[in-house]
Symmetry: C2
Subunit: 345 residues, 2 copies
């Protein structure tokens, strides 16, 4: 079994978690979103939105890269930090071979680690970024993720012109990118711990019902976080999943109730929050690497900064699949990473 270990910088907690002793700060963040997101409930909160979902580019992929670039520029600008001061960048997106990230962040010339965790990638990037800061590997780390409705439909379903039909359990991929500067410089939000996710597979095969595919992973990571840190739902102001949507939220509540936990009064889901289901025709809710990222940047962090929320468990969720894997009949396992965010004066 795992050895409980301590050093001056961090403490290994239980099976999957790290509790930082010198917790890194979440210094600044930036959010860029598309036209549909601009019309949604969080529309006025994003740093930048564009009525042109191509963001000045000729392709959806380049548009997504442009959003990532812009999100990084905004984040660095707010903190008055230059790209050459950032030690490492952690980035990812949904596209094959992570091309939106490679093309998006190239010009910053920051040493980089490319990630893939499906829609959980913002959690993965924040976990690794904060772990590197807490380890003393640099004063600034940049975490960035993105998704784009146009590029994701082309990647996973059909090009937009084909007008594919969507069952009610389907998600609407968020057009957006969020970037986060994590470091040693003081701010009002600290990352005090992380719970690294495992792949959880309940055997579901419906790629049009990703909420159901991801809910078991969210349950696993939330429960593991409770156990590792000796907490329950009462000790968090909010427990915020990435993009379970309405279907996945119900399943998460049921799965946790079976295990003796009730998080209903504390739960929020970025995929539910970002769109108005009634007027925006978004079915189960928003999804994509950008969904949790822009919601964290525009809605969650301001509340933590002001102290309206003192401690939040942020749990981006991902469905691990490709068009090849689901066409070959493989199941769609999920993964979720937990990030503990706390207000500090």
């Amino acid at each position: 079994m795992y050895k409980e270990q301590e050093n001056e910088k961090s403490q290994l907690k239980g099976a999957q978690s790290i509790c930082f002793r010198e917790s890194p700060y979440l210094i600044s963040s930036g959010s860029v979103a598309g036209s549909k997101e601009a019309e949604g409930p969080l529309g006025k909160l994003f740093d930048m939105t564009s009525q042109d979902d191509l963001f000045g580019a000729k392709t959806w992929e380049e548009a997504e890269s442009n959003m990532q670039k812009e999100a990084c520029v905004l984040t660095l600008g707010k903190a008055h930090v230059k790209p050459e001061e950032v030690r490492f960048l952690f980035g990812g997106d949904l596209l094959r071979q992570g091309i939106a990230t490679s093309m998006g962040i190239e010009s910053f010339q920051i040493p980089m680690f490319g990630l893939y965790g499906a829609c959980s990638t913002s959690g993965e990037a924040l976990a690794l970024g904060s772990m590197c800061v807490a380890a003393g590997y640099g004063d600034y780390m940049l975490a960035v993720t993105s998704s784009h409705f146009g590029s994701a439909e082309k990647e996973f379903r059909f090009p937009l012109g084909y007008a594919s039909q969507r069952p009610p359990s389907a998600h609407w991929t968020v057009t957006g990118s969020g970037a986060f500067l994590v470091g040693t410089e003081k701010s009002h939000v600290r990352i005090t711990g992380v719970t690294v996710g495992k792949i959880v597979d309940y055997g579901l095969k419906d790629s049009q019902n990703m909420g159901a595919c991801m809910a078991p992973a969210a349950m696993d990571t939330i429960m593991q976080n409770f156990r590792d840190f000796g907490r329950d739902a009462e000790e968090y102001d909010r427990i915020i999943t990435g993009d379970l949507g309405y279907v996945g939220q119900d399943i998460l509540f049921d799965l946790l109730r079976e295990k003796g936990y009730d998080i209903r009064t504390k739960h929020m889901d970025c995929g539910i929050t970002i769109f108005d289901q009634k007027t925006q025709d978004t079915h189960a809710g928003g999804s994509g690497c950008g969904c949790a990222a822009v919601t964290l940047s525009s809605y969650i962090l301001p509340k933590l900064r002001k102290g309206e929320w003192k401690r939040v468990l942020f749990v981006p969720t991902g469905a691990l699949m490709s068009t090849v894997s689901f066409n070959e009949g493989a199941s769609v396992p999920g993964i979720a990473h937990g990030i503990v965010l706390e207000h500090v004066n």
Copy 2:
């Protein structure tokens, strides 16, 4: 600019490197390869080869997953370490949405970080794994990568049945998977430092000449490593690139000569080493996330263990592209991560 920083565990070196004070050990490794690799110069050195390139599966993707699983089992078995003792797994492959890794390592139930760095992913995984061990985040980290000729041809070119033609500058994707256990338990090889790569783009657009696309990134990382550690080629017994192949090797020598460095007597390339170009019809050489990984496990590490080589710079190289990006006319930038491996008694 970067602040030179020190703590008890590591020292930030120059712009992109970390020098570990308490260097993690590379405890054990495992290599699994296909039938063509078994007939090549390293054929007898792999832990496991299969005449059936499907590795008992029905699809190339599942075959690749099976190789990853087998490589991890071998690596853990050699060290008598159970999966539940491994704190984090770092893994990746070439396929869209990293599906070979997700499906391959799921059964171990190790908290995991999915990576994408094209053929440089083994370097990325070893860098993050050793950084986590050096930071005190756990006693054991597992790094695993893979590639498969059948799944890669289908992903990037055409399904094998189409028999696509290959220009002489093209690479042959290695069917193989290598896994590495990094930790605090003593062995005869330590990871003493890492140089994290930047994306380097010379504007090349020929996806059938990946050696040329990746050579500038290899040059950049090797030079950065020399500068950051205050070393030159003389201080390494070998400088080993991942899969530049014959074309990329020539370009690397030229680029470094322009900068005043000559590594010709110290250079080795895994893509050149793994196949016999004359008899195996492999054109520019081997490539893929598995190429550098199985060569490190089967050929490089034994020499380091015995002390035949005292210090090696291992530099897996990756070409960042997808079928979508190159069909849309984007260039193919490269990235390379440097891992300093040293013999210890």
